[in-house]
């Protein structure tokens, strides 16, 4: 019973983090693209004058999508047309079952591993689910009975099949290094140090494999520069052209959940997962009495700085808009002051006298935080690349997949195997 309860809690945590990240990522995409293209980006939607630099926009978007009419064009395959968005979204969340987001959580002397399903064949499971991701797109594109959506689906399938091979071969190199198919073992192995000073991350021992995997991950998530399946200038918008309302929203959300999952995979396999370099669990637990007060002090300092900046803006822009928006800097300064006072209150509770249970909890929180931080960084990396690089032409895409990445992945595998056999 305990197992069922903890599993459900872990699933709820993962779902909350991913679904919470989706609107933030949509905001980051729009604001990031605006920043890269020297525009302002979304800044209009607000609740009682609070706009949070456009963060309210996703809420407005969701409301709009929820209340839109769900149009079903004539001539579509009714069942598959309805099934496709759910399939895409469902498959995009499945991969997360095997990704460890922390080491373990100690509750009442029992250690709960922070992974939903610690499968013996974790890496193969990742590949299997990635290969299932094609179905929703193909079914949606074909069932819409539209030439543009169908072309998008055809492109997506051929692209995913081509890049899956390089992805699998790149992963096999990592497999030889970590000597386990289990993702928790892969992450734990990356916690060691190489030659005493370099973290033994996947990207350090398998640099070529890491680049190949990341490129293939871009192709698998249909992100620019591999976003031919939805090339607006050629296919209007690709496989989800005929969808509206929440069915479209599911496709849209699936793109971002896929992004989060791909980032989590890159972080787990090649960038140490929940490991903090040079700061192992033992070190954190031993120095918890120093680390926690230092972290709290840093939190208070950041809050004070943010409050000061908001207060300066409030005094400079007094009465600038003449409506509710004028209240925003003052309110934000208040929020920062409250957060800073909370940090001060925690400092008053003598955090330097933390017990072993608290130290263990601190280590877990820091490791989960490190993992989430890495995932968010790679999400931003995906957005960064999308607005920096132009789209491939179709023949260039196939050339890169089959004639460049496949031989490189094979060479990487052979070299790794030889080194692993003789060293």
């Amino acid at each position: 019973m305990d197992l069922v309860l903890t599993t459900f809690l872990k699933m709820a945590f993962i779902l909350a983090v991913i679904l919470g990240l989706v609107p933030v990522l949509i905001w980051a995409e729009r604001k990031g693209s605006a920043f890269i293209q020297d525009r302002t980006g979304p800044n209009r939607a607000g609740i009682a004058g609070i706009r949070l630099a456009g963060l309210i926009h996703p809420i407005a978007d969701v409301l709009k999508l929820l209340f839109k009419e769900d149009v079903r064009p004539a001539g579509v395959h009714r069942v598959m047309y309805a099934l496709a968005p759910f399939l895409v979204f469902f498959v995009s969340l499945l991969t997360y079952a095997v990704i460890p987001f922390g080491d373990y959580l100690e509750v009442g002397g029992r250690r709960i591993p922070l992974v939903v399903a610690d499968l013996d064949v974790g890496i193969l499971y990742v590949l299997a689910i990635a290969s299932l991701g094609t179905y929703g797109i193909v079914m949606g594109g074909w069932a819409s009975n539209n030439k543009y959506t169908f072309l998008g689906a055809v492109r997506s399938t051929s692209q995913m099949i081509s890049y899956e091979i390089s992805m699998g071969l790149a992963l096999m190199g990592l497999l030889l290094v970590s000597e386990s198919l289990r993702l928790t073992d892969v992450v734990a192995g990356q916690g060691q140090l190489l030659w005493g000073f370099l973290p033994r991350w996947g990207v350090v021992v398998q640099p070529l494999g890491a680049i190949l995997f990341m490129t293939a991950a871009f192709a698998e998530t249909n992100r620019n520069p591999f976003d031919l399946p939805e090339g607006e200038s050629e296919l209007v918008s690709g496989y989800h052209l005929e969808y509206s309302s929440m069915k479209f929203a599911l496709f849209f959300m699936a793109e971002y959940t896929n992004l989060v999952v791909a980032s989590a995979l890159i972080a787990t396999l090649y960038f140490g997962g929940w490991n903090i370099p040079w700061l192992s669990r033992a070190v954190i637990e031993a120095r918890a009495g120093v680390l926690l007060p230092a972290l709290l002090a840093a939190h208070v300092a950041v809050c004070a700085l943010a409050a000061a900046l908001y207060l300066r803006r409030a005094s400079r822009e007094r009465g600038k808009f003449g409506d509710a928006r004028d209240r925003e800097p003052g309110l934000m300064a208040g929020v920062c002051v409250v957060a800073g006072l909370a940090g001060l209150a925690a400092l008053a509770l003598r955090p330097w006298e933390i017990g072993p249970a608290g130290a263990s909890l601190l280590a877990t929180v820091l490791q989960v935080g490190a993992f989430v931080g890495k995932v968010v960084f790679f999400c931003w990396f995906f957005i960064w690349v999308r607005w920096t690089l132009p789209r491939f032409r179709y023949d260039q895409l196939m050339h890169l997949g089959w004639k460049v990445m496949l031989p490189l992945a094979l060479a990487n595998l052979v070299v790794t195997a030889v080194v692993a056999a003789f060293v």
Binding site: H77, L119, Y125, L127, L132, V154, S158
Partner: protein, 167 residues
């Protein structure tokens, strides 16, 4: 719990397989076959063979059937007017599932008392166990099969190529 899941997956697998044969639309048949494969993977996982279950999804459901579906859709083109209502997923499926359930119950009834004949040996189908067998005990057969498959691929490509026009 495991017995219940076994019967659930078995019923769904047989029902989906029956729908593969019964559906008029080629695309619907392919989708039902994929569903059947996924259920078969579920049965494998319940029989303590996680490696086989993952391979079933990775190779059959993920690679081979994607190509099948792709080719069927390419050759057929748009959605046929007869397919619009999606009949292959509606009434027929409602008939096929109880039929499959009855078949599963009948088969398990006919095989009662003979459980020892099936899977009495505690085999574990983990990746390590399978690799141990394939790369030690049956290494020669494994390599020979790889060569046969390679020859078959090269042969298929040679046969499938268009004849070059003789100048």
């Amino acid at each position: 719990m495991e017995t219940f899941l076994f019967y659930l997956f078995g019923t769904l697998m047989l029902g989906a397989a029956a729908m593969t044969v019964a559906s008029r639309s080629a695309v619907a048949a392919a989708v039902w076959l994929v569903f059947s494969f996924v259920c078969a993977a579920g049965v494998f996982a319940l029989l303590a063979a996680p490696f086989l279950a993952i391979l079933q999804i990775l190779i059959y459901a993920g690679a081979i059937m994607v190509l099948f579906l792709f080719v069927i859709m390419m050759l057929q083109g748009p959605v046929l007017p007869a397919e619009v209502a999606g009949r292959s997923f509606g009434r027929k499926a409602l008939l096929a599932l109880p039929a499959a359930a009855i078949a599963v119950i009948l088969i398990s009834w006919a095989a009662r008392g003979r459980e020892a004949a099936f899977g009495a040996a505690p085999v574990t189908g983990t990746a390590a166990a399978v690799a141990e067998l394939l790369l030690n005990r049956y290494l020669l057969a494994f390599e020979l099969i790889s060569i046969v498959l390679l020859v078959a691929i090269v042969g298929a490509m040679a046969l499938g190529r268009k004849q070059e026009e003789q100048p």
